[in-house]
Amino acid sequence: MGTTDSEQTAAGLIEDPKSFDPKGTLALILVYFCILVTMWVYIYFVEFLGNDLIVVG
C-alpha cells in the first residue's frame, strides 16, 4: 500500500520491494480501461443497435 510516493528510488526498491507502488501500471491500465469502455459503447449502441433488421423475436 501507499508509501510516500515518488520516494521510490532504485536502491530503495531493491531494499524494500514491498514498498513498490506500480503507479505506471495503474496509469497504463486506466488508459486501457477508458479505451475499452468507449469502444464498447460505440459498438454496442451505434454499430449493433443502430443496425438494420433488429431481431425482435
Binding site: M1, G2, D21, P22, K23, T25, L26, I29, L30, F33, L36, V37, W40, V41, Y44, F45, F48, L49, N51, D52, L53, I54, V55, V56, G57
Partner: protein
C-alpha cells in the same frame, strides 16, 4: 492475503466493466427488445421436409395484419425461395431450416443472422423498413461449394408484394392465394 491497493482499484473497475457489459446486453433485450434465436419450435425431420407444410413449399405467407412468415430451406448450396420477397414496413418472421448439413443464414449488413441446423427451425422476427434489397449468404462452412451459397431478399412495397406473390416466388406462387388466412 495481501493485495496492493492499486490492484484493488483495478479489480473494482473490472467488476464495473463486467456489470456494464451485462447491463448493456440486458438493456438491448429489454429496451429495443432484441431476442435470441432459441428453442421455440419443435424439431423436424430434415429428410422429410416435404411432409412439413411450412417447408414442403418454401415461401412467404401472410399470417396476420401486416405480419408475414418466410419459410426458408437452406441446402447444399442455396436457399429456397430465392429471391425471398417480403413486404416493406411489416413484421416478418423468418423460419429457416436445413435439409442436409449445418448452414448459416446471414442477411448481409444487418443483424439478421442465425445458425441453421438440420432438425431445428431457426426463427428470426424483424421489422422491415422501406423497399430495398439485401444479400443473404451462408456463413457456416457446409461443403465444397459453400462459397457459392447465396440468395437475395427483396423488400418491396406492400401493394407490389400483393400483386407479385402470384409469380415472383417460383415455388411458393400457387399457395400464396390463401396466404392471408394466417393459419399458423
Amino acid at each position: 492475503m495481501h493485495v496492493h491497493s492499486y490492484e484493488k482499484i483495478w479489480l473494482a473497475l473490472g467488476l464495473g466493466l463486467i456489470l456494464l457489459l451485462i447491463g448493456s446486453v440486458t438493456y438491448g433485450a429489454v429496451g429495443p427488445g432484441v431476442s435470441m434465436v432459441a428453442a421455440d419450435q419443435p424439431t423436424v425431420d430434415p429428410t422429410a421436409l416435404d411432409e412439413d407444410d411450412r417447408f414442403a413449399e418454401p415461401r412467404v405467407e401472410q399470417v396476420g395484419e401486416n405480419e408475414y412468415e418466410a419459410y426458408v430451406v437452406a441446402y447444399q448450396f442455396g436457399f429456397e425461395p430465392d429471391p425471398i420477397v417480403i413486404p416493406a414496413n411489416s413484421t416478418v418472421t423468418f423460419m429457416v431450416t436445413s435439409r442436409d448439413v449445418t448452414h448459416g443464414f446471414e442477411v448481409v449488413g444487418t443483424n439478421a443472422n442465425t445458425m441453421v441446423i438440420p432438425g431445428e427451425v431457426s426463427t428470426l422476427t424483424v421489422e422491415t423498413g422501406g423497399p430495398t434489397e439485401y444479400g443473404v449468404i451462408c456463413n457456416e462452412y457446409c461443403g465444397a461449394a459453400h462459397h457459392g451459397m447465396e440468395a437475395t431478399i427483396e423488400v418491396v412495397p406492400q401493394d407490389e408484394f400483393e400483386s407479385s406473390t402470384g409469380g415472383s416466388t417460383d415455388s411458393g406462387g400457387s399457395t400464396d392465394g390463401d396466404g392471408s388466412g394466417g393459419d399458423q
